[in-house]
Symmetry: none
Subunit: 189 residues, 4 copies
Amino acid sequence: MTTLTDRRTVILQATLDLIPEHGLLNTTIALIARQAKSSPGIIYHYFESKNDIIHSLYQLILRQYTEALLADDPLSQEWCERLKRIWLSTFHYFVAQPKHALFMEQYKNSAYAHYSQSIEADENLAPLIQAIRADIEKGLIKNLPFDVIYALTVDVAKSLAKLQIAGIIQLDEAMLDEIAEASCRALQV
Amino acid sequence: MTTLTDRRTVILQATLDLIPEHGLLNTTIALIARQAKSSPGIIYHYFESKNDIIHSLYQLILRQYTEALLADDPLSQEWCERLKRIWLSTFHYFVAQPKHALFMEQYKNSAYAHYSQSIEADENLAPLIQAIRADIEKGLIKNLPFDVIYALTVDVAKSLAKLQIAGIIQLDEAMLDEIAEASCRALQV
Amino acid sequence: MTTLTDRRTVILQATLDLIPEHGLLNTTIALIARQAKSSPGIIYHYFESKNDIIHSLYQLILRQYTEALLADDPLSQEWCERLKRIWLSTFHYFVAQPKHALFMEQYKNSAYAHYSQSIEADENLAPLIQAIRADIEKGLIKNLPFDVIYALTVDVAKSLAKLQIAGIIQLDEAMLDEIAEASCRALQV
Amino acid sequence: MTTLTDRRTVILQATLDLIPEHGLLNTTIALIARQAKSSPGIIYHYFESKNDIIHSLYQLILRQYTEALLADDPLSQEWCERLKRIWLSTFHYFVAQPKHALFMEQYKNSAYAHYSQSIEADENLAPLIQAIRADIEKGLIKNLPFDVIYALTVDVAKSLAKLQIAGIIQLDEAMLDEIAEASCRALQV
DNA sequence: GATGAATGAGTTTTCATTCAT
DNA sequence: CATGAATGAAAACTCATTCAT
């Protein structure tokens, strides 16, 4: 028996399947409906608008990514290990979930995400932010805005993941470890 | 007397003025025509399609950026100084040309840029790529694909420039220098 | 125990509650179902179509109005008193039942009421029509088509009732009596 | 050479031609376009929305009606003659322009006219309202709100015009004069 | 009887592109 | 060269109606 959550998920999955190839704009409701083996009308039974679908999908992916990140237990680590875990978790997550990486990129610079704000506002990341703040206060890593630290670690890992997905580069574990290691050095006081 | 190049430039500038605010999708030909104090019809005299406008604008901005980059003479520098110049030139260029930064983002994840390829293919960057290759061969910097080096320097600088433009962070010259310095350390053998 | 008539009535009442505010068009089956604490499906058990609901509601209201009209015993009156009773009953009925007045207006000029015919065809009004015919034959009131007499009395009363409902005018009993009186004079030979 | 006004008029006329038969709802943009021997897209070159078309048409018809009314010079008449002229002008206008009568009815009780207000607010009618006010002050006609007087004259005339258009009644000039005369008596002090 | 998910045709609106002037 | 009216193929979204449960 299908539940409300199931149906929503099927629609979100269909959307996720289509966006990397078609783009946000060309992923029409009709296309989503067909991919979900459904009809345009029913989509509006589960979502208010195309906007709602896109935002819901964004939230879902963000939640899954942060869960994966925290599942790797970066909180209980020493500072450099913590940064490396964040870096490597991010890279591996998006290489494993290429559609997530591609969707996030599509989303970030679309009309759907028109308000730009600090990632510090993201509640999912709260424990991580606190841990890093503590590292800064202990004088272990440079006193930089969290957005800068994020850009130097997560964004870099995500961007290399995309290059790997696209087949442009092939980074092995040793190289990855080295690059992750570099982010420690970059942030080290 | 207006030349063909002039008219094209006016149209491209109008497009650039509109996209950061309206987005690629909502920057319609009619809007561009009005901004360029022209008409929809004449735009098709100078460009084949909206696609053509977007791509031409992309090429123009890319050329201007690489010119700015090379104008800072990174080629004749020692390896770390070279990387820092690339980093700082990129940051300053996009902070000075916020519309360029915003357009590039809009472009990168749109239906217009659907083919992804290595930036090594970019002819404008050829001399820079050669210089860095030489640094690698001399064993000064890590043996990484150029795309990775690019991601660790240019992309990071561009991404921080966008945060600065958005007002989310405020990096002063000292901090910038430190972060640029960090990219040396990150790539150092 | 709920009877078929009960359920139909609940649905019609729900429809009547919604139409004044939402209009005929925006009073969707889904909305009616919710208002009737029921479901879209079951509505089609009691009515053939939305059309059927609207027409049934129209008939119901028309019947209730004519009942109220005849309850005021205009038949046994002298001609002018009769016209005044019709006038005043109509006015008071629609002021007391504002939703009925508003529905009738919505209905009259909708796609639902596309066939226009003489009100003389309305069986409910038969006794009244006969009484007025008799008045005409006795030479008491002008020899005008019944539709004209109807327009000069009932329609005017209904239209003033709507103004009163809307709060545009405030007619007291004295004024009402005077206007009703005027309809006698208007029809007097 | 066609002017902007011409094109707008053609579209409004097409709309007016369709509404009596199809109703407001079923007069789709596609239908209007076909009737105007045009295309859906161009409609939006001349009007902002379907709403805009409907409202513009309403204003146009209202203006034409009030012009016809004032063209009959009711202002320079003695009070009863004035009322009769208003009555007869209204009747003849709508019999001559049946589509106008039918459109006005469709409009009045549609989602397009959602705010109801006193007709005293209608600027076109200002001189007429003043003349009637003066009549009231001179003690010639009853002291009633203008909306009531309007309902007793214009609305009645319009409503009989519609019956005549529908072929339900056939009023000759003598009868009309008599009914118009009756509105004097109805309003006489 | 009752539910509400599902359908899909139909509606308004947009916009790149063309072309008569 | 230049204009801007005109086209028409989508797109998002709605809703009466059906039907499996």
